[in-house]
Amino acid sequence: MKYKTDVVVIGGGAAGMAAAYRAKKEGVDVILLERDEDTGGVLNQCIHNGFGLQYFKKDLTGPEFKEYAKERLEDIEILFGTYVLEVRNDRTIIFVDRRGIHEIETKALVMATGARERHFNSLPVPGKRITGVFTAGLAQRFINLENLKPGSKAVILGSGDIGLIMARRLTLEGIKVEAVLEIMPYPGGLERNVQQCLKDFGIPLYLSHTVTAIEGDRRLEKVIAAQVDYKWDPIPGTEKEFEVDTLITSVGLIPQTKPVDFVETDPGFLVSNTNQTSEDWIFAAGNCTVIFDLVDYVAKEGEKAGKYAAMYAKGEYKKGKKVKVRKGENIGVIHPIYIDPTQESTLYIRVSKVFDRANIKVLPLDVEVIEDEARPPEMIVVKLKPFDENIDEIEVMADELISKLG
């Protein structure tokens, strides 16, 4: 079949739903493509609360957040079970579903394809390839969607929010969690999740620890962990053995940019504050650009991408001027990396070390933000007003604020 529209959104997670909603609100035709049978993306797997506090001003579970976002999509054409085969630079999109192979002619595109989980196999931990090693997402899919248990006793590798929440979830489902291991010297997830998911259940968290080997004949029988030094090399003599049949890994998300392969990526789509990529008609938002820790940010970014894509389709927004945003001292992640200075912008920043009180500066703009207990796992948000178009680079940096009194 052949379709024609103004804006196509690929991916119906939090970012894609918000983009489709907002683009439609701008008065253009929208088609949303989702490869699954439902929208929501990772939200469907997160049946704990803590979603939407900023965006919907409510404390929701993942699926509840999805329902709220979905309500706003009533008059939007959503095609489920669609897999995008090709995005062509002549603005056609080819996709396949159970009805056949189809083509869409569009004016603008929003990529909202989310991220995939890094697999344990790519770490690379020496050993045999045996069963019993699951990514958190796969384990959640088995438990939540298929009503199946992936094992009886587990170790979790990775203490990001996903890992922490898995520890609680497995415990509640009767799978004994022997330990959570984290290679960094601090937990990767929110403090409140460490308390509610581990401490409340008496699950030990081993910081500066990683898996050095897995053993077993056919199914996993033993996980061997050790403490690591500052180079992440295991320290001999610190090995610990856990007799478990399951290892759940949550060791990072990798933005998915396929099948678009002709725009700038590293590894996610590199976008500007208007969510425009290096191709003016393609916009991107959410975890396919950079990994966000809060769905609220993702939804806001999605809305923004939808808005600018619709404006682009109407001819009201063209290729914006791009000011480069440079990562200065003590900054681990900065997003976006380009700014169209005629528009407002929101910077998402991860510091690269733990601070008591961080002073975050945006140079040469006169912007300073003070953040107490800044840690790499939690994104810091800095808003910028439009600024002088003659500036061709800005730099973001962080340093420890020394109290003037002490």
Binding site: R35, R98, H119, P124, T131, L138, R141, E146, R218, R219
Partner: protein, 477 residues
């Protein structure tokens, strides 16, 4: 009296021997210990169709490798598998290595391999933009190729089934008795079969199996080779890149795989156990370093999909040992590299030379033999209109299950119809869950389809061998 031939071992060698025999004799029975064909040494290796230029002149390897390479053209048409003759370079980087290139030219000549030429620096760097810019020159062999060897084994086994032979899995030979001029074969599952002629093609275990017949073949010891598999995301090389070899193996290579990924490896370390396929920290460091010498911009952090190791069935003589034992059984042993390449020639050597000439058995070609078999095409690679037509008849052909390697539900169901029962069967038959996410996304879906189409509970489904379970209970009853 029914005349029955048994082949022990369903690797690439055993399956191709069974198929070759099946062209003459209907009752060929293939016995494999594992849960599918090609899951032994045939599964974990470099998967290169070698040019045959560097085997020691006069060895059985040299005799069979080049011939095998040539036989692959026909074999590929009949068994319908992907084979890309991307060529191979042996690259000299250091000054002292360049003279080896000319030694290779002479060796190639002795082995009768005409399809090689010396490529000088400028052209070499033009052909392979990412290799070490210090490279001086290479020996290029245009007939070298890449393929998935286990697919050849599975397709050959299927071809045997279609032509009236039998192929059995989970049959580990444990005892042999000679009775009334026949061999009585006893398997681990307590089943027994009589055979008039037996061919032992048990790979790493061919020496152990020979002993069951009371025969002696050169002892086989395992030599481990470790690898990194990198994703399709960056085109590192176009052809197989060999270094100038040192000592026991062809060295650590960088090469494309037939489905678009890249392999870096192998090293070569003798190990004690024939079951030790674990990768090691030292080994991975070694190949990372050696690979980077050939292709300096290898990015393991970003592109690593997985690591794995295979075991070479090595002997002191480093040559194939293929002969009739005292018991009358034929032993195909010591099949180390280039065993994949030589396999079709080994099959002919066994059937045309050993059985017909040396044993003197008269065999006649069957008239009803069908050499060609079909294979469900990988839909992503066929013409879009044709694919669309297939979806109109079968909507499952439009449902994408594995997103990394783009495998549809139809392809998975077809694999099940062709005998797939485990997750590895699906993985190795269709490539689903073989990509970057390593099944993180599609494993749950595949398990569900397998359960549904084989009428089993998901808890009964294994990754491969019995005991390699995936899920063990229901969350809520």
């Amino acid at each position: 009296m029914i005349f029955l031939i048994a082949v022990i071992g369903g690797g690439i060698v055993g399956t191709l021997i069974a198929r070759e025999l099946n062209k003459y004799v209907e009752d060929v029975w293939l016995f494999e210990a594992k849960t599918n064909f090609g899951m032994g040494v045939t599964k974990s290796n470099s998967a290169i169709l070698h040019g045959g230029y560097d085997d020691p002149p006069g060895s059985l390897r040299a005799q069979l490798c080049y011939k095998g390479n040539q036989l692959y053209t026909q074999l590929q048409k009949e068994l319908n598998f992907d084979l890309k003759r991307v060529g191979s370079h042996v690259v000299a980087i250091e000054d002292e290595e360049t003279k080896y290139i000319y030694e290779l030219v002479k060796k190639a000549e002795k082995n009768g391999v005409k399809e090689v030429r010396v490529v000088e620096k400028l052209e070499l760097l033009e052909m392979e933009k990412n290799i070490n810019p210090k490279a001086k020159r290479s020996l290029f062999c245009e007939i070298a190729g890449i393929f998935d060897p286990w697919i050849v084994a599975m397709q050959a086994a299927k071809s045997v089934r279609i032509n009236g032979g039998r192929t059995l899995i989970k049959k580990r030979l444990v005892e042999v008795e000679k009775k009334n001029g026949k061999f009585l074969l006893r398997f681990q599952d307590k089943s027994e079969y009589f055979a008039d002629l037996v061919i032992n093609a048990a790979g790493l275990f061919a020496d152990d199996v020979a002993k069951l017949f009371g025969d002696e073949v050169p002892e086989i010891f395992p030599v481990k080779g470790e690898y990194f598999l990198l994703s399709k995301d960056f085109q590192y090389v176009n052809s197989t890149i060999f270094p100038v070899p040192t000592g026991i193996s062809k060295g650590c290579l960088v090469l494309p795989t037939v489905d678009g990924g890249f392999l870096v490896g192998p090293n070569a370390n003798r190990v004690l156990s024939k079951y030790d396929t674990a990768t090691t920290r030292e080994g991975l460091n070694e190949i990372r370093e050696k690979g980077t010498k050939l292709v300096p911009n290898l990015n393991f952090r970003r592109h690593l999909v997985k690591t794995f190791a295979g075991l070479r069935p090595e002997t002191e003589k480093k040559d194939f040992h293929i002969d009739v034992g005292k018991s009358g059984a034929i032993h195909v042993s010591g099949i180390r590299s280039p065993g994949l390449t030589a396999a079709p020639a080994i099959a002919k050597y066994v059937v045309e030379y050993l059985i017909q000439e040396k044993i003197g058995m008269n065999l006649y070609k069957r008239e009803n033999y069908i050499p060609e078999i079909e294979k469900t095409p990988h839909l992503i690679h066929i013409d879009r209109n044709e694919w669309n037509d297939i979806i109109q008849k079968d909507p499952d052909a439009g449902e994408m299950i594995c997103h990394c390697n783009k495998v549809t539900k139809k392809e998975i169901i077809d694999a099940i119809k062709n005998g797939a029962r485990t997750l590895d069967d699906i993985k190795f038959m269709t490539r689903a869950s073989f990509g970057e996410c390593q099944g993180g996304f599609c494993t749950a879906k595949i398990l569900k389809i397998l359960a549904e189409y084989t009428g089993r509970d998901p808890r009964e489904i294994n990754q491969n061998e019995d005991g390699s379970w995936i899920v063990n209970a229901k969350v809520r009853i």
